[in-house]
């Protein structure tokens, strides 16, 4: 005997909501899921009309659902946002190359412009070549540090106001637990905010902060969204893996566990005598850093000098070089050394793009047939007289687009 939806009392229930325990039908599920994300967005005032918003897109379930829902809500509620897909190519063959194919399909399916920034272009090293140099033990450190910066660099190249990521409630609860277990008080206080400007340049937010993973998966399933699901070929994040399984076991006993942990995390207050590190910028690349040189630059220097343990844990350059053979060091130099663009310069270019786009908006490229940047969103327009198009073209060329 099929059960009825507990909201509309008409259709057959297809899902039991972990949040409320309600059994609901497909149409009611779509409506409540989308409305809750909309409520998260509006109650936190995440966006302003006209904002250029990049959706961090990996091709996985969370970011695919996020891209779909962001597009839908932007149209349904007239947010007035220009949406972009922004992907990072870490250079992991057999994993990221396949997932990026999914993002490319999403680009067509959702009609959103896509920019891909790769580790190889930005740093001269793909993850495959890093693993070749450092082995499989610490490579996740490199990947995590590089990814954060890569998204910011991509956002500046597109002159975005905001990046949204697909982090969901389960992810956040895991992160809170991990920060507690590691005693990482600064991250514990930061991680629960829906939006952070921690990197100094672009606001990042998590519209799925209160969305359960189960509902995201069910949403993708019921909407038949095209997403990619394979574990990274280089050792999964072991620590998070344990936190994840632990949390899933708890959730099975008590579904509210996830929101309860988030609630706890949000309400925690750090005692006044805990000193939080002061933020400044890296003297090499201009990225935000609590040290003189940021983690990414330390890791890159280690790679380039053939001392890949530099910057891992508390290993110094001296300790890392002790006992290393010079010949071995030579052998792992990158094939294509890359001059990193300083963040101040990226920000300057973004500001220039912005003022040119404004000029284009007011004069609207009269007589050229370009309908203005609203149409091309600054990435697709090829009209040579459109100033917005002219300067985005030059920006896209270095990225091989």
């Amino acid at each position: 005997m099929p059960r009825q939806c507990e909201i509309c009392h008409e259709a057959r229930a297809v899902l039991k909501r972990p949040k409320t325990g309600q059994r609901i039908c497909q149409a009611c599920f779509f409506r409540v899921f989308e409305t809750e994300v909309h409520n998260t967005i509006t109650s936190s005032q995440l966006f302003r009309p006209g904002d250029r918003v990049g959706i961090g897109a990996s091709g996985g379930k969370d970011s695919t659902v996020l891209a779909y829902v962001m597009k839908l809500l932007n149209e349904r509620y007239n947010y007035g946002l220009s949406l972009f897909l922004l992907s990072v190519d870490e250079g992991i063959s057999g994993y990221r190359d396949d997932s990026l194919e999914t993002v490319k399909r999403n680009k067509e399916q959702y009609g959103l412009p896509l920019m891909i920034v790769s580790y190889e272009q930005l740093y001269g090293w793909s993850m495959d070549s890093i693993v070749e140099a450092v082995g499989r033990k610490n490579n996740c450190t490199f990947c995590g540090v590089f990814r954060r910066q890569a998204l910011d660099r991509g956002a500046l190249l597109l002159d975005l106001d905001h990046i949204v990521t697909g982090h969901n409630a389960d992810d956040l609860a895991e992160t809170i637990l991990m920060n507690i277990f590691r005693g990482d008080i600064p991250r514990l206080t930061r991680c629960t905010s829906i939006a952070t400007k921690g990197d100094g340049y672009i606001v990042r937010s998590k519209p799925f902060k209160y969305a359960y993973e189960k509902e995201i998966v069910m949403y993708a399933y019921l909407r038949r969204l095209d997403y990619f699901s394979t574990e990274c070929t280089y050792s999964p994040n072991a620590y998070r893996g344990y936190a994840r399984v632990f949390l899933k076991d708890l959730e099975a006993l008590r579904p509210s566990t996830i929101l309860d942990i988030i609630h706890t995390g949000e309400r925690l207050q750090v005692a006044g005598d805990v000193v939080l590190p002061e933020a400044s910028v890296c003297e090499k690349c201009g990225y935000i850093s609590s040290n003189r040189v940021c983690k990414a630059c330390v890791l890159l220097e280690g790679l380039e000098r053939g001392l890949p343990k530099m910057g891992i844990g508390r290993v110094t350059a001296a300790a890392a070089s002790a006992g290393e053979d010079e010949a071995e060091r030579q052998s792992i130099r990158p094939r294509k050394p890359v001059e990193q663009v300083h963040f101040a310069e990226l920000a300057e270019r973004a500001a220039r793009m912005r003022s040119e786009r404004r000029a284009c908006e007011t004069s609207s490229c009269a007589g050229t047939g370009c309908a203005g940047p609203q149409q091309c969103a600054g990435t697709a327009c090829t009209e040579s007289q459109c100033t917005a198009a002219a300067q985005t073209t030059t920006h896209h060329d270095p990225l091989g687009k």
């Binding site: 229930a13 899902l15 379930k61 969370d62 970011s63 998966v217 069910m218 999964p236 994840r244 899933k248």
Partner: protein, 113 residues
């Protein structure tokens, strides 16, 4: 003992847990696995429930580390089960009595985005 034929689907990472020989039976081109499978139907007093079907899958279809699929007497939390298009938690979950021609899907959520 009589048999019940059902359609099994393993998607979103769950397919990685299944023995390669079932991959050959799959009629899906993508990574998803979908194939017809016969399971012992149980008896009139003790008909086949999802609980037994999952144990059958663990014993006969899952390769390598069975803990990835089934642990501490139940399906691993984080693997969603869909029966004929509905979340199994809407119905009776592990107690659901399996019918001939049911379409049973396993969706893993235990991997990153």
């Amino acid at each position: 003992m009589s048999k019940l034929a059902v359609t099994l689907r393993f998607v979103s990472g769950a397919e990685l847990l299944i023995k390669d020989e079932f991959r050959a039976q799959s009629n899906k081109k993508s990574g998803d696995l979908e194939f017809k499978h016969e399971v012992p139907a149980g008896t009139e007093e003790a008909p086949l429930r999802m609980k037994e079907l999952i144990e059958h899958v663990r014993d006969n279809l899952v390769k390598g580390d069975k803990d990835q699929f089934y642990k501490d007497g139940k399906l691993r939390p984080g693997i969603l089960v869909i029966i004929n298009g509905s979340d199994w938690e809407v119905e009776d979950g592990p107690e659901y009595k399996v019918q001939a021609d049911d379409v049973i899907e396993f969706i893993s959520t235990l991997h990153g985005g």
